[in-house]
């Protein structure tokens, strides 16, 4: 009976769910500082630029080993950040335009390179970059019950992607807690930060290295759509719910987790209720994150549309009474 409402199978669902949740939380936490610096598009830029990085790394080394792929993607991510700064400063254009130009050129380059690679009968698929491969993280000899998970052998069964993403979340949390004060001042008032000796440009690059790493770690499992959604949506939602940075960061982490768990369960359960196959989990998670943002825009206590309307009505009433 239980299974008829919520479809959850440890073997098929546990690791995809964990991978999605870790990716969402890592990106969601770091995304706060992108959104506050009005650099939300940077996640988009980095996750698209990763494609040529992967292909070039592959064409050079002829292996698809995770370490090589990661190095190629990370190099491409950092190259993107540097190029965006260069285009912005030398081309004298606004940051959004600089990011748009750089990532579209990089992505196009990646598509061309994939075509060249395909001629050599090499299997690289641009679709995987967009949607990820959550569904492939199946645990074939999984225990049937939750209590069966509490053994050491569980750790051996954890796929590499899940372990990498868990580590990414831990690193992101550490980075934000250690440099919280510095990230806050560099985002709020870069000039003052620099005069006080907290180099704002340095902090920007450090943050971007973390965003690039989180993007690269996440997109293999969950695809660039979820990465982009999670860099922006949880932070934007949390911003509407709170007026303090620390609270915003914590709330964004919770929202990222809720979106991914909710999105995953919805992806497996809702179609099943109508007798259909599960839909793409990463897509469903992104939709859930967008839905929560929409909900916050409408119903947030202080910044929402409804509360704004109520405030104006009250004011109008008060004026009429006077």
């Amino acid at each position: 009976m239980n299974g008829a409402i919520i479809q959850f199978d440890i073997g098929a669902d546990l690791f995809p769910l964990l991978a999605g949740t870790f990716a969402a939380m890592g990106c969601g936490l770091l995304g706060n500082f992108l959104v506050l610096r009005r650099l939300s598009l940077m996640g988009d830029a980095i996750s698209h630029s990763v494609l040529p990085g992967l292909v070039i790394a592959f064409l050079i080394t002829s292996t698809r080993s995770p370490a090589v792929m990661f190095a190629g993607a990370a190099a491409a991510g950092i190259a993107t950040v540097v190029l965006v700064e260069l285009v912005k400063n030398l081309g004298r254009v606004e940051p959004g335009a600089a990011m748009g130009v750089v990532f579209s050129v990089f992505f196009a380059l990646g598509v061309l390179l994939i075509e060249r690679a395909a001629m050599r009968h090499i299997d690289l698929d641009a679709d995987c970059v967009l949607h990820g491969q959550l569904e492939t993280l199946v645990w074939y000899d999984a225990p049937d019950t939750l209590s069966g998970l509490l053994t050491w052998s569980t750790i051996d069964a954890v796929p590499r992607q899940v372990a990498v993403l868990a580590m990414m979340v831990v690193l992101a949390v550490m980075f934000i807690s250690v440099f919280f004060k510095e990230l806050r001042i560099a985002a709020f008032d870069p000039a003052l930060a620099t005069t006080l000796g907290f180099n704002a440009t340095g902090m920007h690059y450090l943050l971007m290295v973390f965003v690039a790493a989180a993007t690269v770690a996440s997109f293999e499992a969950v695809g660039s759509i979820l990465v982009i959604a999670m860099l922006v949506c949880p932070a934007a939602t949390a911003r509407l719910l709170t007026d303090r940075l620390l609270a915003q960061v914590v709330v964004s982490g919770v929202i990222a987790a809720v979106s991914s768990v909710g999105g995953y369960l919805a992806a497996t359960s809702i179609p099943a209720a109508f007798g259909k196959d599960a839909v793409n989990a990463a897509g469903s998670m992104s939709v859930m994150a967008g839905g929560l943002l929409a909900l916050a825009i409408i119903a947030a206590p202080r910044h929402g549309v409804i509360s704004g309307w109520v405030r104006r009505r009250r004011l109008a009433c008060a004026i009429t009474v006077d």
Binding site: R38, R92, K181, L192, L196, F198, L245
Partner: protein, 271 residues
């Protein structure tokens, strides 16, 4: 001009350890277009110094170039005879209010605490004693009761006072303030002037970009008239003359009336 601003090869400014700020032959260019040209200035210690000039004269740029926020094409800047990096903690900075995003999710107290960050150091949280010190600075500008407001809920004048409190929290000896009087209410203007006088009484120096010619004589001891070059610099009584103001504002049609008004006032006072 030679009287107020001597510059011959034999009398290059001696960078005395007394002067809080010595600028020598500083030129700044944005994209090859010079913004500041060959600026020389030695600030006297313990004075309130106004930088006055038309829009685009390079007033903000002068401050930013001194602080290393924009690159200098040439020239040297020394503070008490030492380079900026050695005396950071003795120098406070109040940027223009418009330079930051006031929707940022921080309280007024959080912003004032930023003035303490250098004293706190890398990677350490803001401790209770620093929060108390920041709150005391908010008290001095009459903002203590707004400490826990989110900054977007403050008026423009209150935001400016938060910036001022943040600079006070730096406990510096030399302050750079970029247009602190721009668009503020009367209460804030009074609060800023009180703080400036308090700083002067403590022997500190403040260099303030100022746009209101009417109040220059009342608020300041020293004046730098700037229009890409230093037109004149020195004690207000000597520098604030009809001739110097005409040299500074001359040819700028939009500002000519403002200048003329002040010049007329100076003239009528027999200046």
């Amino acid at each position: 001009m030679d009287e107020t601003h001597p510059r011959t090869l034999s009398s290059l400014p001696e960078h005395s350890a007394e002067s809080p700020l010595s600028v020598h032959a500083m030129t700044v260019a944005y994209h090859r277009k010079p913004v500041l040209w060959d600026v020389d200035y030695d600030a006297p210690s313990g004075a309130l110094i106004a930088i006055v000039g038309p829009n685009g004269a390079g007033k903000s740029t002068l401050i930013k170039a001194c602080l290393g926020l924009v690159p200098r094409a040439s020239g040297q800047v020394e503070f008490w005879g030492r380079p900026y990096t050695q005396v950071r903690s003795r120098i406070g900075y109040v940027p223009q209010r418009e330079s930051v995003d006031w929707d940022f999710p921080v309280s007024a107290l959080d912003v004032v605490c930023m003035g303490r960050y250098r004293k706190i150091g890398w990677c350490r949280p803001v401790g209770r004693s620093h929060r108390r010190a920041a709150l005391a600075c908010m008290e001095r500008v009459g903002m203590a009761e707004y400490a826990h407001r989110q900054i977007s809920q403050l008026s423009g004048g209150q935001q400016q006072r938060v910036f001022l409190a943040r600079a006070l929290a730096q406990e510096a000896d030399l302050y750079f303030m970029d247009e602190p009087f721009a668009g503020v209410d009367a209460a804030t203007e009074t609060a800023i002037v009180d703080v400036l006088r308090e700083l002067k009484a403590l022997g500190k120096t403040a260099i303030v970009v100022h746009h209101d010619l009417q109040t220059v004589e009342e608020y300041f001891d020293e004046l730098i008239l700037l229009n890409m070059r230093v037109v004149a610099a020195g004690p207000v009584a000597r520098v604030f003359t009809r001739e110097n103001l005409q040299k500074t504002y001359g040819g700028r049609l939009t500002l000519l009336s403002e200048a003329a008004e002040a010049v007329a006032r100076v003239g009528s006072q027999g200046g």
